[in-house]
């Protein structure tokens, strides 16, 4: 009996090692053709958009099939998908959807299909570095930007390998300034400054309360963007930090209200719901301006009316807004046909999709023998190019002076009316250079 128990222990022990070993991979790569990484991707979130699910008109919008053939052109991507605080699977899902569209309907790059090797990270430096080394070993022509909090650690690895980071989300200052980096649309920074400027200049707020998550990222963002942009616009700003582990945001919200502000700014991607509901329950009557993630349909729904009247900026044309441009219609068709049904349609998703579309637009006729990171950087940094789901980008213009890798600071201003986003203003760039 004891022997049996010992054998059982040994078997379980070996299984455990194998299992942990199998699972303890800090990264995971999946080629472009796979669409889902296990799990429904937010079924609870209510983030699925009917916009994406509407496939009825897809085929006519997508055009005539023009499949790419031959040797694939390999790109890498690092994306945060296993972080319990904030992850962005929708970046990969949307990018992969765009890759499928380009390969089936767009003829790929000079007739060759795009292969997108995605490495999943939890955003920690150790895991992302492992991802970067792994992608470099796969000899991609470039790294397409996904989402990563450890770009400061991975960019030197790309540089050593002669690779560029192109597109994606600018979550850290590193990718916004590195010489081997290029960001089509400023997803995470201009909009943060813009809400400060708009509050003072357009809503005539003299005193502004800024509520941010009290972790290193939230405090950094608020101190770098929201607070300075308010101050440089002539207003006064006071910062209130919400501890990430605090169950109820109402005390911090009450504290922010206690400063008698004329407007409230939110820099709180992971706590939008609790802050908006607390603002509502504490009877807030002042304008609320937030960063883009607080405008996600799931947040608006979860806030139970707390988001009504809220302003925000985003770098892309909103898929749920009334104005349906050609790019919006095509995006809906691509996501409807190729993305998981419950993909979150938000700016991160559109950053993933537009990265692929902009690269395709710029290089679809370029012979693949010429495609490498240096050539791509040089081409993209020459002249003005059309930006998918936006207006244009010009990587030589440096619209944000201290972040030379960013090619466009154009933002769209939206406001929630009821539960629907309504376009208020296009091409807003007032906050681009007001960061601290």
């Amino acid at each position: 009996m004891k022997g049996m128990l010992r054998r059982r222990g040994a078997i379980v022990g070996v299984c455990a090692v194998a299992a942990v070993g199998l699972a303890a991979c800090g990264s995971s790569s999946s080629s472009g053709s796979s669409s889902s990484a296990g799990g429904s991707g937010g079924s609870a979130a209510g983030t699925s958009s009917s916009a994406a699910a509407n496939t009825s008109a897809s085929s006519s919008v997508l055009g005539t099939p023009k499949p790419a053939k031959g040797t694939p052109v390999v790109f890498g991507m690092i994306n945060i998908e296993s972080n319990s605080g904030a992850d962005f699977p929708e970046v990969r899902q949307a990018a992969q959807a765009a890759v499928k569209y380009v390969n089936e309907y767009g003829g790929g790059l000079d007739g060759h299909p795009i292969q997108l090797n995605v490495c999943v990270t939890d955003g920690s430096p150790a895991t992302s570095v492992q991802c970067a080394n792994k992608l470099v070993a796969q000899h991609p022509v470039a790294i397409l930007g996904g989402s990563d909090l450890a770009a400061a650690n991975t960019l030197p690895i790309y540089k050593k390998a002669g690779l560029a980071l192109i597109g994606g989300m600018d979550l850290t200052p590193a990718e916004s300034a590195a010489p081997n980096s290029l960001i089509f649309n400023d997803v995470a920074q201009s909009g943060n400054s813009d809400i400060g400027v708009y509050a003072v200049k357009n809503l005539h707020a003299k005193k502004v309360s800024v509520i941010a998550i009290g972790d290193t990222q939230g405090a950094f963002q608020a101190k770098t963007f929201e607070v300075p942009s308010v101050q440089k616009s002539g207003g006064s700003a006071k910062l209130f930090l919400l501890p990430p582990s605090q169950a109820d945001a109402s005390s911090v919200v009450a504290s922010a209200q206690g400063a008698s502000p004329d407007a409230v700014l939110l820099e709180s991607p992971s706590q939008c719901v609790s802050i908006l509901t607390a603002l509502k329950s504490l009877g807030n009557s002042k304008p609320v301006l937030s960063i883009d993630p607080c405008s996600a349909p799931s947040v608006v729904k979860a806030a139970n009316g707390g988001a009504n009247g809220m302003y925000w900026f985003e770098p892309y044309q909103d898929l749920l807004a009334a104005n349906q441009t050609k790019d919006v219609v095509l995006t809906k068709a691509i996501l409807g046909k190729y993305a998981p049904a419950k993909i979150a349609i938000d700016s991160p998703a559109l950053a993933g999709l537009t990265t692929v579309m902009n690269v395709w637009n710029a290089f679809k006729a370029t012979p693949t023998s010429k495609l490498n990171s240096a050539y791509m950087l040089k081409t993209l940094r020459t002249g003005t190019h059309p930006a998918f789901l936006s207006t244009t980008y010009n990587c030589a213009m440096h619209p944000i002076t201290h972040e030379p890798a960013i090619c466009s600071a154009n933002e769209y201003l939206y406001q929630i009316k009821g539960t629907t986003p309504t376009l208020i203003q296009s091409n807003y760039t007032a906050g681009a250079n007001l960061a601290g």
Partner: protein, 684 residues
């Protein structure tokens, strides 16, 4: 009529106290569940917050989509039980509570019941495993998107004197008090309560009277899980549900449970509510006393409370009556450490030279993690003190490395040694409570310390560089550039030599007089004291040595990453370090190496398997499951089993060589200990 200025001023303080009732109620209800679990099964369940989180998702899915969720992945994890518009709130809550009862029963019967007489470390390991697994399942199935919850309790503003308070916070606090009183009454006046208390006091006695301690514990566990689910559901409308936040509620809840000495329901309720109210009041005070830290203060509060509880209540922290002696994991006895060290260096250099960039990086990462894990081997394996703060100590050293380089101009290796010595100072502070408490109580203390270091120190941008982190000076030695990005090989060799030297030091420590003192303290503190060992000093010495080794690991990590930020040293990373060392074999140096090579998220084996099979996104899930399995089936870690396998193979080979004659049995390179320290939490 305008209120007098003084009254208005005072009322704002009261308002903030009242606004803290929502958070406080959650901490209190979770704390009650922790008490039930500890009293009945002897488990401080670190997964309690994660269970609340998962049950909240179950409720939301029922309410929003009419689907019942299950805790697994890949296979369909939902079953439709109503139309896609979802169930009404009341039936959704009811089904979720029943679901929680079943979930609690399954967890208890499959995981915690087999561990009733296992070492405290095994129970801690299992609950951390469950926590990691549930969190990973939630990330995979629900991501971190915001979820919508309908109002559950009336949330209309209530006018209290001159204050306006959302009524749901008041209802939540009221319900919590009711639950607390109900539990106190049940356990004081009902037969079930009396039997539970009897089993807690004396399991053997309860068994003689015909009461199954196991069955009683199962009932309590179910009740605790239902309470966790109720807390998770009721707070949904006022908080943000994602896999990370709910799990963090465990720290203040543990503070409340500890203040209640894991026994008094009424004190736990009061303590939970007070912690929530104080956290809220601190927000107000931060606007009045602007010199207070603006970041991390609320997260640091539970640490202060837990430390106070340890100081004031250490001698009264409850002990459970247990029917068997506790045994500790086996400890390895290093054989021929010098030869092994030289062999490791030779093999390591060859591996570094042969490997490509990907695998070279993995080898270096494995070595660094093994170094930090060796600190766990010393403090937990050799001395039996459960420390959940070792990676936080590595973090102190990593950041100090940069400050020392900038401030004193000291580079490698002096800067590394000095940085590790800074970790020693903090390590001694972490270890101070170990003089008074042990087992799970020490685990709770070190968990709170790691959380406080995370919130107050690593979140402090002047220390850690904040979000952008700190750039690390490249290491140079005698003019040789050891920068990782320059070659990788020279840096790898430097890391290899340092880690092997650390391993050699640990081996000599284990085989020497101090190592024997460590083991004596681990086995029986009273007996150790009776033969002249200064138990307190020995423990603190162990904490200091372990902190130094963790600090060396942290410094090496900083050199490897070149830019260091707080993400590498969060509370969860400290838990993971303990977990993988435990799975590897917490009593052995080879266990630490196995943890680094086989189990570290960016180690050699995971890199190999990831390149072959792409299993990356399931990392945390399978790590959690494996940890739980190991705790249940193999409390001594995998290297113990591997060692047995090698021994059997060697004996078989010797038998063949000897022509069937039984060889002389070589001594086993381990020290099994069956007599352990007094029961968990017992006063010394």
């Amino acid at each position: 009529m305008q209120a007098p200025r003084g009254a208005t001023h005072m009322s704002s303080y009261i308002l903030f106290l009242l606004l803290g009732l929502g958070s406080g109620a959650v901490y209190a209800v979770l704390g009650l569940g922790l008490v039930l679990k500890y009293r009945s099964a002897g488990v401080v369940d670190f997964a309690h917050g994660a269970v609340a989180m998962f049950c909240a998702y179950v409720f939301i899915e029922l309410r929003s989509n009419g689907e019942l969720q299950f805790p697994w992945i890949i296979l369909p994890h939902q079953v439709r039980v109503a139309s896609s518009s979802g169930l009404a709130t009341a039936p959704s809550i009811l089904i979720t509570l029943v679901y929680a009862a079943v979930l609690g029963l399954v967890f208890y019967m499959t995981i915690y019941r087999p561990l009733r007489n296992a070492p405290a470390l095994a129970r801690v390991g299992a609950s951390i495993g469950v926590m990691l697994a549930l969190q990973a399942i939630a990330v995979l199935n629900y991501s971190t998107f915001a979820v919508s919850s309908p109002p559950i309790l009336p949330a209309t503003p209530v006018h209290v004197a001159s204050l306006i308070v959302p009524s749901d916070r008041l209802y939540l606090a009221g319900l919590t008090v009711l639950v607390g009183f109900a539990l106190a009454a049940i356990y004081r006046f009902t037969r079930f309560g009396l039997v539970t208390r009897a089993a807690v006091e004396n399991e053997r006695g309860a068994a003689l009277l015909g009461h199954s301690a196991s069955r009683i514990a199962a009932y309590n566990w179910v009740l605790a899980t239902v309470l966790a689910a109720a807390a998770g559901i009721l707070i949904l409308p006022i908080t943000t549900l994602n896999p990370g936040t709910y799990t963090l509620f465990i720290v203040p809840a543990l503070g409340a449970a500890l203040l209640g000495r894991f026994s008094s329901f009424s004190v736990v309720v009061i303590a939970g509510l007070v912690i929530g109210m104080l956290q809220s009041e601190l927000v107000k005070l931060q606007t009045v006393w602007t010199w207070l830290p603006q970041q991390g203060l609320q997260d640091g509060l539970p640490f202060v409370i837990i430390m106070l509880a340890m100081v004031l209540l250490a001698r009264r922290l409850s002990a459970r009556g247990q029917i068997t002696d506790v045994h500790n994991p086996a400890v390895g006895r290093p054989q021929r450490p010098a030869i092994t060290a030289v062999s490791c260096v030779v093999v390591g250099i060859v591996a570094l030279l042969v490997a490509n960039t990907d695998y070279r990086s993995a080898i270096i990462s494995s070595l660094i993690v093994a170094c930090v894990c060796m600190s766990v081997v010393i403090i937990t394996g050799y001395v039996g003190q459960i420390s959940l703060a070792q990676n936080a100590l590595a973090g102190i050293s990593a950041f100090m490395l940069v400050h020392i380089a900038h401030g004193l101009g000291l580079g490698f290796p002096l800067g590394l040694i000095l940085a590790a010595l800074c970790a020693v100072v903090v390590g001694l502070l972490v270890g101070l409570p170990a003089v008074r408490v042990r087992g799970v109580n020490l685990a709770v203390t070190t968990l709170a310390t790691a959380a406080a270091l995370d919130a107050l120190v690593f979140n402090n941008s002047s220390f850690s560089g904040g979000f952008t982190g700190l750039n690390v000076h490249a290491p140079h030695l005698f003019g040789l550039n050891l920068e990782p990005s320059a070659s990788g090989v020279t840096f790898g060799i430097a890391v290899l030599v340092i880690v092997v030297l650390v391993g050699l030091f640990v081996a000599r420590l284990r085989n020497g007089r101090l190592g024997r003192a460590f083991l004596a303290v681990r086995s029986n503190e009273r007996a150790a004291a009776s033969i002249g060992i200064d138990v307190a000093r020995t423990k603190l010495f162990a904490f200091a040595i372990a902190a130094f080794i963790a600090g060396i690991g942290g410094g090496l990590l900083a050199y490897q990453q070149q830019n260091i930020n707080s993400a590498s040293f969060t509370l969860w990373t400290s838990l993971t370090i303990l977990a993988i060392t435990y799975v590897g074999g917490v009593g052995r140096i080879t266990g630490a190496i196995a943890a680094g090579v086989l189990l570290a998220s960016n180690g050699v084996m995971p890199t190999l398997l990831d390149n072959l099979f792409n299993f990356g996104q399931y990392q945390a899930l399978i790590a959690g499951v494996a940890l739980t399995l190991t705790a249940v089936a193999n409390p001594d870690g995998v290297t113990q089993e591997m060692g047995r396998g090698f021994t059997q193979l060697r004996r078989a080979a010797l038998r063949r060589v000897a022509g069937g004659r039984p060889p002389s049995t070589p001594p086993l390179a381990e020290t099994p200990t069956t007599s352990g320290p007094p029961p968990v939490g017992a006063p010394r």
